[in-house]
Amino acid sequence: MSLLKAIEAGDASLLPSRRDEAWRYSDLRAALRAIPDASPSAATPTTTAPLAAVKADHEILVLNGRPSQAAFRAKAGAPQVLRLRIFAHADHTLHQGAVAIDLDAGADLTLIETYEGQGADYVSDIALAITVGAGARMERIVLVDEPADAISISGSQIDLEPGARLYQSVVTAGARLQRHETQVRHPGGGADVRLDGLYLLSGKRHADLTTVLTHAAPDGTTRQLTKGVVRDAARGVFQGRILVEEGADRTDARMGHHALLLNDGAEVDAKPELEIYADEVSCAHGNTVGSLDDQALFYMRARGLPEHEAKALLMQAFVGEVGERIEHPGAREAVAAWVAAKLESLA
């Protein structure tokens, strides 16, 4: 079942639910009893965007699903930065939007993709179609900073040409139900992918980071690292699937997911999947869920750090690696600042 079909038919019973394996931990049907009315158009936001410190060469603003520009093409040449600012200003309504981004062969694009909103209880559904040409490089930095009662769904389909590089980092604070899904067609042939994620959740927030990556031909590499910190009654979901198709020999893929639960009642659902039908493949995955080390906390406090600061430092040490893998210096710094502030509130 899909969100799109349900909306077209105006029938909430067609929404994806826990009976659909891909939506098992993010039950949209349970969250949404009826299909809401369509969101009206919205005025240009006067607030600053998340990651505003990152200088961009171009900006696409998506207001209640309506993009200022439906397609963007990056040509080969000097590296450029595109800001894709997805903004909702709606109460109890629903909107959908789609944007296409194409990188020509040899292009170099940093995409700063942010999700935010004002209002109450809205549903935002965004679809991105991305192509990365031969030898082109895309670094995609996503920050989801939605209100606690929003439903925020984002799905992207990414097609790569041989020799392309895709480096993605998704950082999220969740929402009432928030899902960021990435589907990647990996052509091998020296193409290289990094798919990272970080969720920092409190209250009743829910974040779902889902990736489905298909190695379709030989000699491709993928690295994936997702980390999370979950407090209160929040829930983090990681679904990472790497499929190595028949003939995609000499694929090298690594996946890691590690989460910290700060209290009883916090929840993490992890579903790492490696499915391999090729030869001479090197694949590995690791998955851990734990809590802050009480002994380490006492040691740090005995040296003078207040509990709050000691916790923040331990959490920072735990998640820091994800942000450090961001290559764009300005984005790395802006994400680090956002993460530090968020951890401060979780500690």
Binding site: Q295, F298, A302, R303, E307, E309
Partner: protein
């Protein structure tokens, strides 16, 4: 003047009474050794003074410079000048040693209403302290204690002690896991901290450490109480006759 004053201290872990009426006075400028058999309550005493959760004080008091310690949080005690050198220093993955020590120093200074130490001033301090303890400065860029040997971890404890400059030093089995060279370096580091306005509590099972760190007084802890006190000669006597003579001491 008495710096550390412990009076009739009783400590339980869960339902089990470990320390049963311990009294001890350590004047400023002095080094006191606490010796005792395994299970006597030596580590319980050090953790209680540092404020570890789960160590319940059921009776008695402990004060630093006349101020009650037991109601304070561990970090507040540290800011007052209490430093416990752990028998088994913890590994803190992902936190570079320098970052950790600077955060601790500045947190203590902040709690005392003092200005933070700037990064350059801190680096100078850390460089001097590491030279004295023969610690390779590059090691301080690595996560604290992660993958360090037992001797390196103990040296890191002394380094932190030197930089944080506490008033009351509690050394919990600092000699355990040290070879003779490491023991000498660590002891020199501790001896360099002797000062008229500083007191030390050296907790040890063996007399060996006291050849390097000469105590002013030696106390024997057995069955949760101080059962004998004397001068440095008491340590040598224990080395000869062992702790058996105290095993029957009434608890």
């Amino acid at each position: 003047m008495t710096m550390l004053s412990i009076d009739n201290l009783h400590v339980s872990i869960g339902d089990k009474a470990i320390i049963k009426g311990l009294s001890l006075q350590v004047p400023a400028g002095e080094v006191h050794a606490i010796m005792g058999p395994n299970g006597a309550g030596k580590s319980t005493l050090s953790y209680t003074l540092a404020g570890r959760a789960g160590y319940d004080v059921t009776e008695g008091s402990a004060a630093l410079d006349g101020e009650d310690l037991l109601t304070l949080e561990p970090n507040e005690r540290a800011a007052k000048g209490v430093f416990l050198s752990f028998q088994y220093p913890l590994e803190i993955p992902g936190v570079p040693t320098l970052t950790f020590i600077r955060a601790a120093l500045n947190a203590q200074r902040k709690a005392r209403g003092e200005a933070e130490v700037s990064a350059p001033a801190f680096l100078k301090l850390a460089r001097e302290a590491s030279n004295k303890l023969k610690i390779d400065f590059d090691m301080l860029k690595r996560p604290l204690n992660v993958g360090f040997s037992g001797g390196e971890k103990k040296r890191m404890e002394i380094l932190q002690m030197a930089i944080l400059s506490p008033r009351l030093l509690i050394l919990d089995e600092t000699d355990s896991g040290l070879d003779i060279d490491a023991l000498r370096i660590v002891s020199e580091g501790v001896n360099a901290m002797r000062a008229p306005d500083r007191a030390m509590l050296v907790i040890t099972h063996y007399q060996r450490l006291l050849d390097y760190i000469k105590p002013d007084r030696v106390h024997v802890l057995a069955g949760g109480r101080i059962v004998a006190s004397g001068g440095p000669e008491l340590a040598h006597e224990l080395e000869r006759s062992g702790y058996d003579q105290y095993a029957m001491a009434p608890a």
